[in-house]
């Protein structure tokens, strides 16, 4: 009874799951997928400019790569850092492939660039008649994704890792093999740039 209760309450750490997987426990891998699927999919979505289909495909590739590589995980860094690194590498590869094959989606970028002089859009008012929170959220998400897509890869990865995935400077520093100061300065520039892009697209007073 106590063991059952303990098993229900105890949440195995990433390291415990990795050890169990190394011992041949596929359920441990299943738990790891469940634990990281949203974060990895999210990173892929942001990185690959909102292409849901491609993002899912790349996310699956990431987890398959993890399955094959987990026995070699040394535990020198946190598993999350390692998983993010694998995801970022896959995203970069896919992006390079897409650029080379000219299959990248440039519509939104082109569209936004063309709309620079367009009048600012305003997020739908939650309290306005005929609107609801879902519409507001979808619209904000679209605007955010469009703004992110306009950033260069370096700036986008900083925003994604720090302000969306909420990784610390130290984690990002390890993940990208960059000094902490470099991470900070790049993030500063990326935030500034994102704010500029977003400011063109919406009335910030609606957000703040």
């Amino acid at each position: 009874m106590f063991a059952l209760l303990f098993a229900m309450v105890h949440r195995p750490t990433d390291e415990e799951l990795v050890q169990r997987f190394k011992g041949g426990d596929r359920n441990a891998y299943s738990e790891l997928v469940r634990r990281y699927q949203n974060r990895i999919f999210s990173v892929c979505m942001r990185w690959l400019k909102g292409d849901r289909e491609i993002a899912e495909e790349v996310s699956q590739d990431v987890f398959l790569a993890l399955f094959r590589a987990l026995p070699g995980f040394r535990g020198d860094a946190k598993l999350s850092t390692w998983v993010y690194r694998v995801a970022i590498n896959h995203c970069k590869n896919r992006q390079t492939y897409r650029h080379r094959r000219a299959h990248g989606r440039h519509d939104s970028i082109d569209g936004i660039q063309q709309e620079d002089d367009a009048p600012k859009r305003q997020l739908a008012d939650d309290n306005a008649p005929g609107t609801d929170a879902l519409v507001h959220q979808l619209e904000a998400r679209t605007l955010l994704q469009e703004a992110l897509d306009q950033l260069d890869d370096e700036q986008r990865q900083m925003i994604v890792l720090r302000d969306i995935e909420d990784l610390s400077y130290e984690e990002i520093s390890k993940l990208l093999d960059l000094p902490r100061g470099t991470v900070k300065s790049r993030l500063h520039r990326a935030r500034h740039e994102l704010a500029k892009k977003l400011g063109r697209r919406l009335n910030l007073a609606d957000v703040v």
């Binding site: 596929r26 949203n38 999919f41 979505m45 094959r68 590589a69 935030r191």
Partner: protein
């Protein structure tokens, strides 16, 4: 404050990395700079939007699709190359390098040092000539007896052979020799060079253990140097000293003991003479209460003579010179005979 500094300060402010004093200073700057405040607000708005957005949800059925892909994959194993790489990676390389360096240094130093693992052999010029004569049958018998003597301490050179002469000289054999106990066939009644070899074929010369009765320490008498130590022995004729293989101190009751010693020497195929003059012994030699006697006997007779000497008087071996144990014909014993 430069533009770069302002941007850095602004982001530190957003990240909450400023101290209270810095926050106060920055907020003061904000109140005085509308452009800076506008920039802050735009970034805050963007970050707020990012945070409310948060991580996206994976599509429905994503987990199942991933697991279906993994299901057809064999369980990954770490290859032997990976294991090997990991083994070397996990090794404390600094410690390993130091150990290797230390080993190399030891090997190099060892090549320049004399080999101290085995006794050093004498230069050929200092070594006594190997016996050219074959010992008599008694030598072999004595050797066998030495091997069979109960309670005999193991000799440092007796891996497969025991040198009777040295055993006797060391005082390891004190009783009468019992040839009947030998189960080793005599080698045609004689002793050859092989009998006088130590382990690994080295000459026994220089390997003799003198540390049985408080004499010189082991190995201290290697070579041709005489090892006489007692003050009495120092008065003995130098040539006698040099030639003597073994020196005894013999305390006798009366001067007739000199005749017994002479007879004893003759019985063992040798001769006893005055140590200084070389003249035949006479009882008058002990008028002064002390005389040096030189006894020359065949080496093979040493054991027997050693045992018999105690019948003459209280004999005690005082020193031994292993270099002289293997004379070509006879060995010389120096007896410091004193009246009781």
């Amino acid at each position: 404050m430069t533009k770069q500094e302002t941007t850095t300060r602004l982001n530190d402010y957003l990240d909450g990395e400023l101290g209270p004093a810095q926050v106060a200073a920055f907020e003061d700057a904000l109140s005085k700079d509308p452009a800076l405040r506008a920039e802050l607000e735009s970034i805050q708005a963007a970050m707020e939007l990012l945070r409310t957005e948060g991580p996206l949800q994976a599509p429905t059925g994503f987990h199942e699709r991933v697991m279906a892909q993994a299901a057809v994959e064999p369980m990954p194993q770490i290859g032997w190359m990976d294991r090997l790489r990991r083994f070397f990676r996990d090794l404390p390389m600094e410690t390993l390098a130091m150990a290797v360096a230390a080993t190399i240094v030891l090997v190099l130093v060892g090549n320049f040092l004399p080999d101290s693992g085995e006794p050093e052999t004498e230069p050929a010029a200092l070594q006594p000539a190997e016996p050219e004569r074959r010992a008599t049958a008694g030598a072999q018998e004595t050797k066998e007896a030495a091997q069979k003597t109960p309670g005999a301490a193991p000799s440092i050179q007796a891996e497969d052979e025991i040198d009777p002469i040295r055993e006797v000289a060391n005082g390891l054999i004190s009783g009468p020799v019992d040839n009947s106990t030998s189960d080793k066939p005599a080698k045609s009644g004689s002793m050859d060079k092989a009998d006088m070899k130590g382990p690994k074929g080295s000459d026994v010369v220089g390997m003799l253990d003198l540390g049985t009765q408080g004499e010189a320490p082991i190995g201290s008498t290697s070579g041709a140097e005489p090892a006489f130590e007692t003050p009495e022995a120092q008065s003995v004729d130098l040539e006698t000293q040099l030639n003597a293989a073994v020196a005894y101190s013999v305390v006798v009751k009366d001067s007739s003991s000199l005749r017994q010693i002479a007879a004893l020497a003759e019985r063992h195929g040798g001769r006893a003479v005055h140590g200084k003059t070389g003249a035949t012994l006479s009882e008058a030699d002990l008028d002064g209460g002390r005389v040096q006697v030189q006894v020359r006997i065949p080496p093979a007779q040493l054991a027997s003579f050693h045992s018999a000497l105690n019948s003459v008087g209280a004999a005690q071996r005082t020193s031994m010179n292993d270099a002289n144990l293997y004379g070509p014909d006879t060995i010389s014993l120096n007896l410091d005979v004193r009246l009781q």
